[in-house]
Symmetry: C2
Subunit: 329 residues, 2 copies
DNA sequence: TTGTATGCGTTATCAG
DNA sequence: CTGATAACGCATACAA
């Protein structure tokens, strides 16, 4: 394997000079820069990422911390987009990424978790799907030992940023669209899990809309469960005009229930997963560009690792109507 | 961060001794072993994985090489299971894993690809979804520079193993079950892409069954495309008794077409993806345990990295009938 | 602007 | 059985 040493020898310069050229240091003469680059090109030298992270104090890897959807595999789509977006961006930024599942670390204490990440030379962590109940994770964020970007949870401090769409507005918008299209008054709103950060934001959006439009609003907790949404719909939908769900999966459950009850009520979901296209009926939903969200998160990790402070990043969303014709290919 | 040096000092031994204890070397007295372990425990020392891979000649990371399903996001489920199975197993085996998407390396020459993996200190690669057209990948396998495990493609040499289910038998079995249940004679078989390894194997299974059962067999290429399967079904299914598809997605396309044509024909698929549960009708399919396949692949990578030779590993499959009730929760 | 020397945290070699 | 010490490949403070 050709190393930086070979390049240095071949170019007739010192190792440190090669390193400076590679890392775009300012104080290198144009002449040597070209000479080095020529040799790098000729030998096809690619710096060893492992050695780099071990050596540098600034370097360090990024962990993608994912919570596998144990209850339902139907939305792996989301995680997959998160992963691919993050990895693509990381590759572009020359960052080393490893994927970690929450199940691998959930029993750890703060110290254990800290040691675990440190032992992997991890400096930045992107957290997907955090809940209010993840106590150790909260401690980890407060500890300031790692640069952390949290998706969909409002955590910000000196070493922590959050990125997400505006869930409140999105819920407001998609529900409004559905309700206006169908002139409804009595709304059944099925929420997500009570320990999810987005649950509250989306609920607030719905509440605000109810106030603005003077709607009659019934709220029930669906726990992001298709089955639960189905049951709730069976029980309460008959004397409602519309069923607004805080997730696509619940919207599907609600829709199936309505079909079985043989009544029609408009239903709207949230997330824009492909599965929505397969359920027969069209539904309004909020489409998040998960890959893009994830790319932004990695970008933000880069900022934090460069020493900048945490902040809140809001990304755009889009209202769509999903039908089979749009997703088949 | 507590390092091996701290442990050594605290235990009153040399660094190298600590290393030997950690790596279960034979020549260490029981006494010092215990002493070291006690200190390791007390300080909560976790060895730095990056330093280890840089230093050791035996160590090295493994890459998961995935081909993102650009044409259809509906089966991210499969990739996700591959990833989670592999990462779980790797964690257990103390192997460092990175995820690589084929799109990141598809334009590279053999040399570039080799350098790329080498620069990442990668010694083992698990290849998911290889096709006959991936020429550089074939060269990479032949080169012997990496330990490679290929999923679902019959590649074996000194440094290469393959693991998969018995696709021929699985296709034979699931088609047979469907055909017997419905006493069919005229079969429409929709294959996958012509450059896929499993396509041929599954086709052979179908052909053998046709011979054994004296069936009338029509074969059309569906390219694993839902849309294409739909068109083929529209065109040819009317005077057939059954539609056998080489993938679930195509089975769904076929089923939707039949519903639209308002005729009934039994359909069977292949893979056992959750999506099958959402299409209304029940269908026979082959369920692969993708996570398990992936775990076995990583295990096999471990064998190869330990210097053993490549071999063929066949894993079990299962015939199932997927319906909504089974997948909802 | 360039080169020298040291360190990052391990593993491996070899002398004791 | 144990302990120095030299790699591993690169980054960087500091000297030249």
């Amino acid at each position: 394997m050709v190393s930086i040493k070979d390049v240095a020898r071949e170019a007739g310069v010192a190792i440190s000079t090669v390193s400076k050229v590679l890392n775009h240091y300012p104080n290198v003469s144009e002449e040597t820069r070209q000479k080095v680059n020529e040799v790098v090109e000729r030998l096809g030298f690619v710096p060893n990422a492992v050695a780099a992270t071990l050596s540098s104090k600034n370097a360090g890897r990024v962990a993608l911390l994912l919570k596998l959807n144990t209850q339902t595999q139907a939305i792996d789509e989301i995680d997959m987009q998160y992963i691919s977006g993050a990895i693509r961006k990381a590759q572009e930024m020359q960052l080393d990424v490893i994927t970690v599942f929450f199940s691998m670390i959930e029993d750890m204490s703060l110290e254990e978790m800290t040691r675990y990440f440190a032992s992997q030379s991890i400096r930045g962590i992107v957290v997907y799907g955090m809940s209010t109940k993840d106590r150790v994770l909260h401690q980890l964020i407060r500890s300031g030992n790692f640069k952390i970007v949290v998706i969909d949870a409002p955590m910000v401090n000196e070493t922590t940023s959050c990125v997400s769409i505006d869930h409140e507005k999105a819920q407001y918008d998609v529900a409004r669209k559905t309700i206006v299209e169908n002139t409804c008054k009595r709304v059944l709103y099925i929420t997500g899990t009570s320990d999810g950060y987005v649950t509250e934001q989306r609920l607030n959006g719905m509440k605000r809309l109810a106030q603005d439009m003077k709607l009659k609003l019934m709220i029930r907790s669906g726990d992001f469960s298709e089955l639960k949404a189905r049951e709730i719909t069976m029980r309460y939908a008959r004397n409602k005009d519309v069923v607004v769900c805080a997730s696509d999966l619940m919207a599907i459950g609600a829709m199936k229930a309505l079909t079985e009850m043989d009544i029609f009520r408009p239903v709207c979901g949230f997330d824009g997963i492909i599965l929505m296209g397969y359920v027969g009926k069209q539904m309004n939903t909020v489409r998040q560009n998960f890959a893009h969200v994830s790319e932004e998160a990695v970008l933000e990790i880069g900022r934090l690792m460069d020493g900048e402070s945490g902040r809140k990043v809001i990304l755009p969303h889009e209202l769509v109507r999903m039908k089979y014709e749009d997703i088949i290919c």
